[in-house]
């Protein structure tokens, strides 16, 4: 039973931040595209802005890996 809960936790640890990241990027993407159309020199800022929410899903993935390692152990 414990393995089931651990697997579910790992899945949620990735899934919830992934949805959050997708939502954040769906807002940031069009805004940065519009900003770049007017000011192409903001490309570095655009990269940063789009990459910032990805931290959530990446850390979610790390947490999921740690949970799965516990499940394996």
């Amino acid at each position: 039973m414990e393995i089931l809960w651990l697997s579910l936790s790992a899945a949620l640890a990735v899934a919830i931040p992934a949805i959050a990241t997708a939502w954040a990027q769906s807002r940031i993407g069009p805004a940065t595209a519009a900003a770049l159309a007017e000011k192409p020199e903001l490309s570095a800022t655009a990269v940063i802005l789009v990459a910032i929410p990805e931290t959530m899903v990446i850390l979610g993935f790390v947490v999921a890996v740690l949970i799965m390692l516990r499940a394996g152990g």
Partner: protein, 635 residues
């Protein structure tokens, strides 16, 4: 590094101003600055006449740019001979440049408009091309009918029953007095010709309205003719349009090759003259003398002095101003790095330039960017593909071009990818291990996930501490108190890490208590030196270190995707199909492997690393006379 600059002041009799400006423009190393207004020294506002002249020249320059764009003339700098010709030009030559800009831009605009309108017409006619093919045969039957009316329609038919239903509906309306010719279009729709006796024309028109069937709309100029006549005419016109477009493209090539050099010369003359007017406006004048202030790279001050001595009279003097008389933030910035680091200046240039006197991060980016990239992708196969891509980009690229810089950056990334690929023992994931018995020299990151995470965080800690140390150096130039605060922050970050490692018994547990005690002592020092927000910044810094976990996350994802690609060979039944899917999957993984590590390595630099020390807001070094491609730096 940022090249050291010197501020110089050139003074002389007013009558010499023109000769001095000529000499400065030819040398093209002085970045002009407005001299400080003092008693008796004035910066004369531009006269309406010179304002008007500047506007006219700018308009001509704009025309020259438009013409160069329309004729696709590359805007490369003039050769040294060409630049010399520009420098020696007088008013007549300038008038010639203005005339050339207007004349060629007129011709180019006419050509571009004609090409645009023909392309538009061609596109419209090409939309009917399928109809030409289909209705060409169908309409042949219309020729044989006397006193007949033809209706051409397109119907979206998903099945042949649709046509049967239409025939039945037509039969119900007018009996058997019709003929139906049809052919399927490449798009899947059906082109239909309904032939009926002329006497039934109005009835069929009414019926079509009630069934939502619409006759094919012909383009403007062909509506009156009917499809039977229009199709051959449109086909003929399309052939004419295509021939005319070819001849216009040839005309554009001829114009570009005959007028291109003159246009480049004209552009250089115009931009130099505009620069000259701006320089004149930036020079300070007294009743009898002039003053020009500007910046020049320190090692070129002597060169400037010798050049002016040669080209002007002895009454013109060049003085280097003392460091105490100017502020760092006003000095222009030239990034100057060793050849091996120079391609990575492109990454720094994506942000506003660093301020003069602060630190140019290019050498650090040149080391850490490809290292993070290699840590993430780390695969001998992908590294080799990357090296090949770098080689392809490098070949045919011009020196100092962006393409050359990108090729060299990819080359460095491929080198680190190969190194880490050997350390991880990866060749297209686990293919090297399965086929060639390849073993990791360091660790297998698909198995040793926790050590990989530890490595990523340790590297992150080193990177962040380096950033904080550079921040101390930058802060030291402004205020010692600020530098002390940043130093304490470095100490506290290190102690937090030591305490955590001791708590988890990675370091001896004996380290824990001393680390916490020193942390408690350092905390008030941090608040006093850096302010109340400093503890929050400290937490953010610890968060920054955790952000490097992405190196492990992306790296693990990359190797897992490669392993999944390899598993496809055996799991899809057919080996050939499996191999094809595996190849496709590896290609997708390679594309992801190019994009994802780049974005994340950039982010780690821009957000986590630069945030600790980078001071943006530097002014770009733009030497007077550099616009035509002359000048020391460009030469």
């Amino acid at each position: 590094m940022i090249r050291p600059m010197a501020k110089v002041r050139i003074m002389g009799p007013k009558a010499e101003l023109s000769a001095v400006l000529d000499a400065l423009q030819q040398l093209a190393i002085l970045h002009l600055a407005l001299p400080r207004q003092r008693e008796g020294l004035s910066i004369e506002p531009s006269s309406p006449r010179s304002e008007r002249r500047r506007r006219q020249l700018s308009a001509a320059l704009q025309r020259a740019d438009l013409a160069m764009k329309a004729l696709e003339v590359p805007a490369r700098p003039l050769s040294s001979e060409g630049a010399a010709v520009v420098e020696s030009e007088g008013t007549t030559a300038l008038c010639r440049a203005v005339r050339t800009a207007y004349r060629v831009s007129r011709k180019a605009r006419g050509l571009v408009e004609r090409i645009g309108s023909l392309e538009e017409e061609g596109q419209l006619l090409r939309k009917y091309r399928d109809l030409f093919d289909v209705f060409g045969d169908v309409l042949a039957s219309q020729q044989r009918w006397v006193n007949a009316a033809g209706f051409e329609v397109i119907i979206r038919a998903t099945d042949d029953d649709h046509l049967k239903r239409l025939r039945a509906a037509l039969q119900a309306e007018i009996g058997d007095s019709f003929e139906l010719k049809w052919k399927r279009l490449p798009s899947g729709d059906i082109a239909l010709l309904i032939l009926v006796p002329e006497s039934l024309r109005s009835r069929i028109e009414q019926w079509m309205k009630s069934t939502d069937l619409e006759e094919i709309a012909l383009p403007e100029g062909y509506e009156e003719r009917g499809l039977a006549e229009a199709i051959p005419a449109m086909s003929e016109r399309l052939r004419e349009v295509e021939a005319q477009l070819l001849s216009l493209a040839e005309e554009r090539r001829r114009l570009a090759s005959s007028e291109g050099p003159r246009l480049r010369q004209a552009r250089a003359s115009l931009s130099q003259r505009i620069e000259r007017l701006d320089a004149l406006a930036a020079s300070g004048r007294t009743e009898h003398a002039f003053v020009i202030d500007g910046w020049v790279p320190s090692e070129w001050v002597q060169r400037l002095k010798s050049h002016l001595k040669l080209r002007t009279s002895s009454s013109v003097t060049v003085a280097e101003l003392g460091r105490e008389s100017w502020k760092s933030e006003n000095a222009p910035v030239v990034l100057s790095n060793p050849r091996i680091f120079r391609p990575f200046e492109a990454i720094v240039r994506l942000l506003p330039l660093p301020r003069y006197g602060s630190i140019d991060p290019t050498p650090f980016v040149a080391v850490f960017f490809p290292m993070f990239f290699g840590l993430i992708l780390g695969d001998l196969g992908y590294g080799a593909m990357l090296a090949l891509l770098a080689l392809l980009l490098w070949r045919g690229s011009e020196r100092e071009s962006l393409r050359r810089s990108i090729a060299e950056m990819i080359g460095a990334c491929s080198l680190f990818t190969l190194i880490f690929g050997a350390l991880y023992g990866e060749l297209f994931g686990d293919l090297g291990h399965r086929w060639l018995g390849l073993r990791p020299l360091w660790f297998d990151r698909s198995e040793a996930v926790l050590p990989f995470l530890g490595l990523a965080l340790a590297l992150g800690l080193v990177h962040i501490l380096l950033g904080l140390s550079l921040g101390v150096v930058t802060a030291f130039q402004r205020s010692r108190k600020e530098a002390l605060g940043k130093g304490v922050a470095i100490l506290m970050v290190t102690l937090i890490v030591v305490a955590l490692l001791a708590m988890f018994e990675i370091l001896p547990r004996a380290f824990f208590v001393p680390a916490v005690v020193i942390l408690l002592i350092a905390f008030p020092v941090l608040v006093v030196t850096e302010g109340l927000l400093a503890p929050i910044e400290l937490l953010a810094t610890v968060g920054n270190v955790l952000s490097y976990a992405r190196v492990m996350a992306l790296g693990t994802a990359s190797v897992m995707l490669a392993v999944v690609a390899n598993r496809m060979v055996g799991s899809l039944g057919s080996v050939a199909v499996g191999a094809l899917f595996a190849l496709l999957f590896h290609l997708v993984n390679f594309a992801l492997g190019l994009f994802s590590p780049t974005i994340h390595a950039l982010r780690l630099h821009y957000v986590e690393f630069f945030g600790k020390f980078y001071s943006p807001g530097g002014t770009r070094y733009q030497p007077f006379g550099g616009s035509a491609g002359g000048g020391m730096i460009n030469r």
